[in-house]
């Protein structure tokens, strides 16, 4: 199959899965919403057709089974309780994992049969009109680990026995009971699945399992159980807890919430615009040749204007191609919040505003994880448990809101919760005890300072580290990621009221405004976003404070760094009296960079560096200048 079809398939599959997830979250909130179920069914059906066309047999087969199941959900009177929803969510995740396996051409990471059987069980059960508490045998067994160890110490073998009864068997409940009774003659039945009460009430299909601690051999147990009639199959295996761990891990780890954007769709309209501009550009080019041949300088100047109009237009249109609505990321979040709040026992509503706003694809790819981290922080540390909330006079449901807005060349992302807020005193105390700050710094503490503390590596205020928010790493990663994109993170928090993170991001990374400066023979570009001002000073204005060179501007003491020294280049102007300083804004401190000359301000196209020089300190990329020369772009954050 052609590679372009392949890309198309995976791009679309990703899109459909996202839509399915969205519909599922909606369905869970409004179980009566048949439309959501229809969407899920229809998309699964489409996925099946696509997978079959691509020749992905296993994928098509799985989709087919899911489709069947969803069809039954659609027609049957299924109660979409949490447990049912969990199974559906898990299956969709498994399907997504399988899609990934196909994309990466790697062996399958999931066992589709497991999910299919789970769904079938639910359908079989739900269709009877009964809702029975079914616990995974794995979960139940956890409680009994101590018991199982005890049996092992006593020299018993602990077996997991799976029994399938004949389909024509009458009174299967009693039959199951007989199997258990007979097993008890050989040892101890630790646990059965479903539980014995359910078995007795015939609330199971024809198979059940139990854990048997016995001194008999597996063969003996099997032989004895086969003495009972109407038993079709008896599978006995050593009950293995390590195996269980693996099983659970597998289920858990194959769910990355966010996927890198692999391909994107472009509206035909945008392509047409670009084609038009290109056409005009081609005409302008031939006009340029003509006027040059004719040496008609007036016409040449006019032609220059035409280029000046066309090229930025083309640039703009091409840039827009890289823009994607932020919903690409945010659409995943209802699901993230659902899963996280469930595992934390909290009730949280997520509100998203402005998800249609567009952002550069590269930025979108990078902000997903930081956003998830902030959301996790809100779920884990911010929003209180329902009871706590009611006690403090808040509505039972916590609220998290994500608001996206555009402001000049920036995108502002506000993530706010109405949780308990950050206890500044507690943070400060802990920071002191961990020697993260000095005592004199605790005067005039504000939310910016608090954020710095929280983002310091290895800081966590919650007594025990939860699975959710990681191990104290997190906010520092959030901060670094956003800053490396040329953005900023700010924190606002009020105790008892809630916490708000404000992320400011550039619209795009591809083209930035920059100040060109020279140091020795080299030209460097400093992103304008980072620059506060440029000043000319006298050599004598630089003073030494504890081996640090500083200058004083309007009563502000600013440390200066000589770029020639920092980057190890020979400066032409070391000895001269007049010195140019570019003052760069840091969130904590401003820094002055001493350069030879400040050249000009212009739009530059950011080109990534090849991997072999990517890690050079102080440089983030390069750009090609008007005269064909290359200027390196300074990474201000890493130098200061």
């Amino acid at each position: 199959m052609d590679k372009s079809y392949r890309d198309l398939f995976f791009g679309e599959a990703q899109e459909y899965l996202r839509e399915i997830n969205r519909a599922l979250v909606k369905l869970e909130k409004e179980p009566a919403d048949l439309e959501s179920m229809n969407i899920i069914f229809r998309l699964t059906h489409t996925l099946k057709g696509m997978a079959a066309t691509m020749g992905y047999k296993e994928l098509a087969e799985f989709a087919h089974q899911l489709e069947n199941a969803f069809d039954k959900f659609r027609s049957g009177k299924i109660d979409f309780n949490l447990e049912v929803m969990d199974v559906i969510f898990e299956s969709i995740d498994a399907f997504a994992a399988l899609v990934d396996d196909f994309r990466e051409n790697r062996p399958f990471s999931i066992d589709t049969a497991l999910y299919v059987s789970k769904i079938e069980k639910i359908i079989a059960r739900e269709n009877k009109g009964k809702v029975i508490e079914v616990k995974k045998i794995e979960e139940d067994i956890k409680i009994d680990i101590g018991l199982i160890d005890k049996f092992k110490e006593e020299g018993c073998e602990v077996l997991r026995v799976a029994v399938v009864l004949a389909k024509d068997c009458f009174m299967k409940g009693v039959r199951a009971f007989l199997v258990l009774e007979r097993s008890r003659k050989m040892g101890t039945v630790v646990k059965s699945f479903p539980g014995e009460a359910e078995l007795k009430e015939e609330e199971f299909d024809y198979s059940f399992e139990f854990i048997l601690a016995t001194r008999e051999s597996r063969e003996a147990v099997q032989k004895e159980l086969f003495k009972i009639i109407e038993i079709e199959k008896v599978d006995i295996s050593i009950f293995d807890l390590t195996g269980l761990d693996k099983f659970e891990k597998k289920v858990k780890t194959n769910v990355p919430y966010l996927k890198k954007i692999q391909s994107m769709r472009i509206p035909v309209e945008r392509l047409d615009k670009i084609m038009n501009l290109m056409g005009e550009l081609a005409i302008a080019k031939s006009r340029l040749v003509q006027t040059m041949q004719a040496k008609d300088y007036v016409a040449l100047e006019e032609t220059g204007y035409i280029f000046e109009r066309l090229v930025p237009g083309l640039q703009d249109e091409l840039l827009k191609l890289r823009l994607l609505p932020i919903s690409y990321i945010l659409d995943n979040f209802p699901r993230v919040v659902r899963d996280l709040s469930r595992s934390e026992g909290k009730e949280i509503d997520l509100k998203i505003i402005g998800s249609e706003i567009e952002l550069d694809r590269v930025i979108l790819d990078d902000i997903g994880d930081p956003l998830i981290h902030i959301i996790r922080n809100s779920v884990d540390h911010g929003i209180e448990l329902p009871d706590e909330r009611i006690k403090s006079g808040k509505p039972r449901h916590g609220k998290i809101s994500i608001k996206v807005s555009r402001e000049k060349g920036h995108i502002i992302l506000e993530i706010a919760d109405d949780g308990k807020g950050i206890d500044f005193d507690k943070v400060v105390k802990r920071a002191l005890s961990k020697n993260l700050i000095k005592l004199e710094e605790t005067i005039n503490i504000d939310s910016a300072k608090i954020f710095d503390i929280l983002a310091a590596p290895g800081f966590s205020t919650k007594e025990e580290v939860t699975e959710l928010s990681g191990r104290g790493v997190g906010l520092d990663v959030v901060k670094n990621t956003i800053e490396s994109l040329g953005g900023r993170v700010e924190l606002e928090s009020e105790l008892g009221k809630g916490t708000k993170f404000v992320l400011t991001l550039p619209l795009t990374l591809a083209i930035i405004k920059a100040m060109l400066v020279s140091v020795g023979e080299q030209i460097y570009a400093i992103p304008l976003m980072n620059i506060r001002e440029t000043v000319k000073i006298n050599k004598n204005d630089i003073k030494l404070v504890k081996d640090l060179e500083v200058i004083r501007i309007r009563d502000e003491v600013i440390p200066v760094i000589r770029l020639s020294k920092e980057l190890n280049i020979k400066s032409f102007k070391d000895a001269s009296a007049a010195i140019s300083v570019v003052i760069v804004e840091g969130r904590i401190k401003n820094i002055g960079f001493v350069v030879d000359n400040v050249l000009s301000e212009q739009d530059i196209v950011v080109k990534p560096l090849s991997s072999f020089i990517k890690k050079v300190k102080g440089i983030t990329g390069a750009t090609i200048l008007g005269d064909g020369g290359v200027a390196l772009i300074l990474d201000v954050a890493s130098i200061r």
């Binding site: 009693v174 007989l178 007795k200 086969f226 003495k227 009639i229």
Partner: protein, 126 residues
Amino acid sequence: MGTKKRILIVDDALFMRNLLRDSLVRSGFEICGEASNALEGVEKFKELKPDLVTLDIVMPKMEEIDGISAVKEIINLDPGAKVIVISALAERKLVQQALIYGAKDFIAKPFTCEKLLGVVRKVLGE
């Protein structure tokens, strides 16, 4: 196998006794006795010492002995006794009780001839 296995049928319905006897005899078992109530069943068990007993779980009480207590009695007399309980579908609790007392297996009415022979052979260990 040298000798035919001897079976005692305990059932209050003549129809059932005949059905059971015909099916079992045709398959090479010996019906050593029949009883039409629980009390008689226990007496015959003591007297005949059969290899296997089929016992209807629902029978009228005779001197405080019904189907379920007959199972208990028989197992008390011989813990190794092989009792197959025959019951109708709705009698789950009774059958469970019988199994707790030590009945080896059960068969629910209506049953096919194969099923009957299957359970009898399995309980006899054939």
